[in-house]
Structures are given as C-alpha cells and as structure tokens.
Symmetry: C2
Amino acid sequence: MHEELIRYIRDRSVTPMSDDNIASIKAFFVPKKFRRKQYFSQADEISKNLAFIVKGAMRQYSIDAKGIEHVVRLSIENWWAGDRESLSNQAPSRYFIDCWEDTDALVISRADMSSLTESIPAFSEMTRVLDEKHAFALLNRVNASISLSAEERYADLEKSYPEFLQRFPQHIIASYLGVTKETLSRVRKQSSKR
Amino acid sequence: MHEELIRYIRDRSVTPMSDDNIASIKAFFVPKKFRRKQYFSQADEISKNLAFIVKGAMRQYSIDAKGIEHVVRLSIENWWAGDRESLSNQAPSRYFIDCWEDTDALVISRADMSSLTESIPAFSEMTRVLDEKHAFALLNRVNASISLSAEERYADLEKSYPEFLQRFPQHIIASYLGVTKETLSRVRKQSSKR
DNA sequence: CGAAAATTTGACATGACTCAACTGGAGTGG
DNA sequence: CCACTCCAGTTGAGTCATGTCAAATTTTCG
C-alpha cells in the first residue's frame, strides 16, 4: 500500500531516503478506506488531514447560496486530496471533499506532515515541487477561465487531463469547467460534428 | 532598497539570517528600474528572472487569438512578478509581464534564486510559504470564477484586494475579473445604486 | 427487471459581449 | 493657457453564449 507513495516521492526528489525515513513515512501515513460518497472533509470544519490517493477518486467542491455544487478539484490515483488552505491556516474550510469512487488512501495529519517535511529532505523537496506544479496548473486554469469559451475550456481539459473524462461523469466535468451540464452536453454535440 | 526585501523575508520565516546570508541576498538581488509600459518578460520567451517589487505595479497577461489581453495577475509593492512556470520548467512563457507604473524592482536570476533557496533556510522557508499562499489565492480565484457572477466577483475583489482598485484602471480590473470593461462599468453602476 | 443516476433535448430567459458613439479628464506642445 | 490628442470610462442597441426549467431518453447497477 505504501509502495506507490514511496515511489511517488522518489520520482519527485533527488535526495535519497534512508530506511529510517521510509519507516517514518510508513508510520505516519495511515491506510484508510473510504466508500463512494463518503466525506473526507467538510465545509466550515477545520481540516485535519491530507490524503494520498492510492486507488479511487475524490472531488473538492463548494456549495453556493442556491445549493449548487462547484467542483474546484478532481483527484485520482497518485494525487492528493485535502484542503491545504484550511489545513495550513487552521481556518474553516469553504470546501467539501468526498469520494466519487470507493477509495484507498494514505492519510496523514497536519502535525505529522510537518514533522516529515522537517525531518526528511526528499519529502520536503517533493512537497515543494508539488506546490509549485499545483500553482502552475491553477494559474493556467484561471487563464482558461477568463480567456476561453466553454467549448475551448472543454477541449483544453480533454487535452490536459483526459483521464478525468474517463473517471468522472459529465455533470461533474461541467461543474469543474464552470458550466451547466446542459451546456456541456450541447458543447460536446457541437464539437463532435467537426 | 534591499531593506524591504530583508524585512519581507524576516516576516515570513522563523530561522534567523546571518550577516553572510543578508550579504548574499543583497548581492544576488539586483536593483533595476523599469518604466511604465516597459516589458519585464514576454510570451514565447523562456523567462530568466524573478522580480521583487519595491515600488510600482506590474501586470501579467496572456493575449488570445483575437488579440485581447487577459490579465492573470497584478503585482504591486512587496509582491513578486515573473512567470514561475516558465522559469522553473525552462519552457516558453504564455504570458507577457509589463509595468503599469514606473517600477523599482529587485531582480534575481533563476540560478541565483535556487542557490539562495539552497543556502539560506529563511529564504527557502519564505518561498515555501509564498508558494502555498499563492496556491490558496489561485484556488479561491478558480472557485470564484466558476461559482460567482461578474458582480459577485467584483465585490469579492473589492473586499480581498482593495488596493488593486486604487492602482489599476477599470479596464484592467475588468480583464482580471474575466469580463469586458463595458460589463464592469455597468456592474458598478448597478451595485452603486444599492 | 426496476429504480436511480446521468444525459439529452426543447423552449425560453438573461447575463455578458460587441460595436459604435460619446463624454470627460490628463498630459503635451505650441 | 489654450488646443489637441490620448486614454479611460460610459451608454445604447443588438446579438450571442450560456443558464433555467421541464420533460424525455438512455445508462448504470443493485
């Protein structure tokens, strides 16, 4: 169960990890199973944990005044889930995170996360790279959202993250793109004609 | 000129900096003046530098197929400017960065940036916190863009970054929000009635 | 097989865009 | 100090992309 995570860290760092390091990673990341629809964390709560997804899929979303869900993030195998902002600031989250599929995850607490970051250079490197990449992806998403039409954003997603289209139903993809499911349905019909 | 930067780093880290550390920061960050409208970096180029703004204002934007500018980021005093993605991946940038006001900046190269990160713990801490905060802000912006109307996004900006409204003209704020200047003008007229 | 979930479709409403014209500074040079 | 230009902002009319609501259809899965 932990092998994927170890490999993930190795792939994203240059400093080697000692057996000790690996042992503490294994000790701190607790395997947990979540069922489809189960919440990982909820809005207005202060998030306590971060999860590395070994198998399964989660989504992170806000709910607006009208009760409509807006998906800000989709996570599958070898991705992370958790509201980093709430975790880091110890502030109530704006987001819900739940499982879209039955999920096997490795869960770590905020405190354990920071002690790993401090004690294992490779781990710290990995989180740094991760944060950077995450910020890049978000900036590009902001750019897409202010500069592209619904159709173009869909095409962009299709190109950048084709795996999402396999794993999540259209109405979730629509929400992630910031359009209604009806609009996405029409957009796809249109573009398939070409 | 470097004092602001030193203070900025101190405020965002716990590890103290030695005189040596401070000396290398001063050596690596080169003061540079930019005139209003001057480019800091351009699309399709591989970005070489990062800037800490001591005084002035810059904007980062893409230009779409129709030639329309889409502002993804605004930076003023005590903020950073530079395309981190292009810098880090050594890939051509999608963005232009230019000065909206005459600007005094401290400029550092990619290479010097990584050597400071490696050699000065406080500096490395600061960049880590910065990246985190940046990612939080971007996620919230994504959330706003998929869940709020133009009017709500404007109200949100007014609350979160009132200084932008002072420093940049409306058409730039409009672009940052992902609407046309005409729409923003109407939105403001509407909301001022209440 | 049957129920629930997902998707599609149609009719209509509306928010935001486009284009063009107009207004009102701010700065510049004669 | 005026005339001029440039830039920002506003306004109006028409259009278009996307949203809303309701219903029909298809798919999924226990």
